[in-house]
Symmetry: C2
């Protein structure tokens, strides 16, 4: 049996940034690493080619009467920049105390290694475990999984044989409380590029005659929110559904400490839509955020130009029942209607993903046709978590997005059991990302028990 921490170090050393073509070698290295590891514990591994980065599809077959779980994960990571803010090398895993630092440590290499290690240990102990297992490890999650729909089309029949999907790519609120993610926000993203003059112009010789694209961009952006925190795009909230009572009650059990949350963020006041606490807003409300902006001279000192272009990267997080394409269209139409004269607008389409909800068994709104194996998986998870972590999990919607969860549901009918393993302080998508090794240890024990329990039937 391999050492999960040593293997995780090896995994992190492959700089698998999917959105940046400079990291081709890191992507190939991480892909080969995952394929070899799953092969070494007895899985039949297929490397599924896509337009960009291959998927690893690895199976352990068995009797058709055995339950069948699909375990999802991704081997790609976010870009690591700004590198100057890292205290350790981004792609050289470094253990400090009970944490391992490195890009991808928590998103998703650590949690994925947790589940692979649990399966490896379980199969070593019970080589004849009556459980069919399919690992589905993609390499395009951080770029919005552009190849996933096509893969799903091709593999839908084989996936439909499974009973549910299991994954760890969501968050724990703290080291002592497991959360089963009962919903995810969707998202839709695009870049807006504003062009003024045909080239950069001297701000002395020409300043005052025509519109500066940075000014036009700021004026457009400033119209997109109301002072009360809501998004100011007509129709933006039309499809948003009311929140179920048990969801609000479950969130209350979480006992969010707002002072501690503000301290964690480093802000002195929150900024949420009216009627929503910060914890509610990030789970139950959609957003429109600016993820990056650029234009003109950004270096040391000054350069007195009026730039030709300026751009902003826009993303909307969406809640169930909001359609990504429709929201994108509304936002773009609003921008076009509000843009000042004298500039040209260009929209660059980025990725998107639908929101998702799954309801655990025995809730007021549990679907009547819920799969018995899914219900059993939820109950096994509840039991294993209660035993190992000392308290039952909470069933909460999360603010993040795993767009492929909604796509799997649509293409195959499979729901997902999402057991979060990363913590707020793990710095996902930010410098100094890390993963808690105590969480990893408990995570391995929990997953072993869940899969052993499901196998019992």
């Amino acid at each position: 049996m391999f050492d999960p921490i040593e293997k995780l170090k090896e995994f992190i050393r492959h700089p698998s940034v999917s959105t940046d073509s400079k990291f081709r070698d890191g992507m190939l290295g991480a892909q080969k690493f995952v394929a070899d590891l799953l092969g070494s514990i007895g899985f039949q591994v297929e490397v599924v080619r896509t337009e960009k980065h291959p998927l690893i599809f690895a199976q352990r077959g068995g009797d058709k009467s055995w339950p069948h779980v699909v375990i999802y994960g991704h081997y790609d990571v976010q870009p690591a920049d700004p590198l100057n803010l890292w205290k350790t090398e981004a792609f050289e895993p470094t253990i400090i105390g009970n944490r391992i630092y490195g890009r991808g440590a928590a998103d998703n290499k650590g949690p994925l290694m947790t589940n692979i290690a649990a399966i490896a240990q379980l199969l070593e102990e019970q080589p004849n475990l009556p459980l069919r297992i399919t690992f589905l490890i993609e390499g395009e999650e951080e770029m919005g999984s552009p190849s996933f729909p096509k893969f799903l089309e091709q593999y839908a029949d084989r996936l439909r044989e499974a009973d549910f999907v299991y994954l760890s790519d969501t968050a724990l609120p703290n080291e002592n409380q497991v959360v089963i993610t009962a919903g995810l926000r969707g998202l839709t993203l695009f870049d807006l590029v504003v062009t003024g003059a045909k080239g950069d112009m001297h701000s002395g010789l020409h300043g005052g005659a025509f519109r500066n694209p940075i000014q036009a961009l700021a004026e457009i952006m400033a119209t997109l929110h109301l002072p009360d925190g809501r998004v100011n795009v007509p129709g933006f909230y039309d499809a948003v559904l009311p929140v179920h009572d048990w969801e609000r009650a479950e969130l209350k059990k979480l006992g969010v400490d707002e002072k501690a949350y503000a301290e964690f963020l480093g802000v002195d006041i929150f900024y949420t839509p009216p009627g929503f606490s910060p914890a509610e807003a990030i789970r139950f409300q959609p957003t429109l955020e600016f993820n990056g902006i650029g234009g003109g001279y950004q270096g040391e000192g000054t350069k007195t130009v009026i730039p030709s272009k300026a751009f902003v990267k826009v993303s909307c997080r969406l809640v169930p029942n909001q359609e990504p394409d429709k929201i994108k269209r509304l936002v773009i139409e609003t921008i076009k209607a509000r843009a000042p004269k004298g500039v040209k607008l260009e929209f660059i389409d980025q990725h998107k993903g639908e929101a998702y909800v799954v309801v655990p068994p025995d809730r007021s709104n549990t679907p009547k046709d819920q799969s018995p194996v899914l219900a059993r998986a939820f109950r096994a998870t509840d039991k294993a978590v209660t035993e190992i972590w000392g308290r039952p999990p909470l069933y909460l919607r999360e603010g993040g997005s795993v767009p492929i969860i909604a796509e799997i549901k649509r293409a195959t009918g499979l729901d997902s059991v999402m057991l979060g393993l990363f913590l707020p302080e793990d710095n996902l998508h930010a410098p100094n990302e890390s993963f808690n090794l105590d969480v990893m240890k408990k995570g391995i024990a929990t997953a072993r028990r869940i899969f052993a329990e499901i196998a019992k039937g």
Copy 2:
């Protein structure tokens, strides 16, 4: 006698970007080049050390009764980025047709070489020319001349012996029309940095809870202009003086073709304060411009962060009687008053410079105590230009800034005769900067005649 074009090539090859410390060698090379060249034509050269980049102070003495001209120029250049937009190497001078391409070709290496060549030719022809000449070539113009005030303090007594300053660091409207710059805009610059959360945050996990600094920055920026094109900062226009009638009349003679100007800029409509044509706005009105903006993820694809910081580089062009420090204070106070809650503001001071006006002889508002040598210099210039270019020069205020002109006036009482030599299509401060070699040739002949005429007394 040296070949002015070959010498200009050599000059451009020194990448003398003063605002970026990576170009130290280029700065030293350009400085040595200028010192050696002036030494070779008989000047006594002093290299005046400053906190950043030295000034070249080179003199040709003579009898105290001779007129004394100070010829100003600068050997530093703007940064060349974005380099990918250059069609030739930025620091490898390339002649295409009648133009020489390269960073600094027009600002200020070409025009400066024009004046040095004129003096060299004149002194070769008339070694005993009764004219005292001081070259004053600085290396910090593009960073706002931070060392110039201290230099002026130290050298004021020697400069006060001169009669006027002559320079070519302003624009020609076209190849056939010389403009004597009768005024320059001042400027004041600062960076605004907005901070939200203490680090970059995942837009899924935390989006909707707190204020995004890019959004806050855009909301602040969007308040700083009115839809009609005016700057929306209380008190901004209070000190602005009315424009003299002869100035408006002189500008009318320029016969600005607005359609051609719009085509040159590549815009379909202008955006000027009410009551000012584009040509008037850039000369007679102050501005508030955004020269650069940055924050969050600017790379390929997407990165769903809410960044910790965003910044904008702000510059105001000022007209005579507006005080740079006062305007900066008004803008900063306005920004502070309008900033939304939940973000921190930081202001980084950059350079500044006062606006300047000089009135040629025989105008309604010519000062009664105008120096006779200055009046003679204006008349000599008018005559030389009329003879060589076929029409008299126009006396116009310009939109650009040469802050040291106002500082020289304040410290020494000297006014400046500014004979522009670069054209709108020379792409100053932008990619593909070039200088027209026909203009250079006529410029050398003009300057020779002007200085010969002044020497006659």
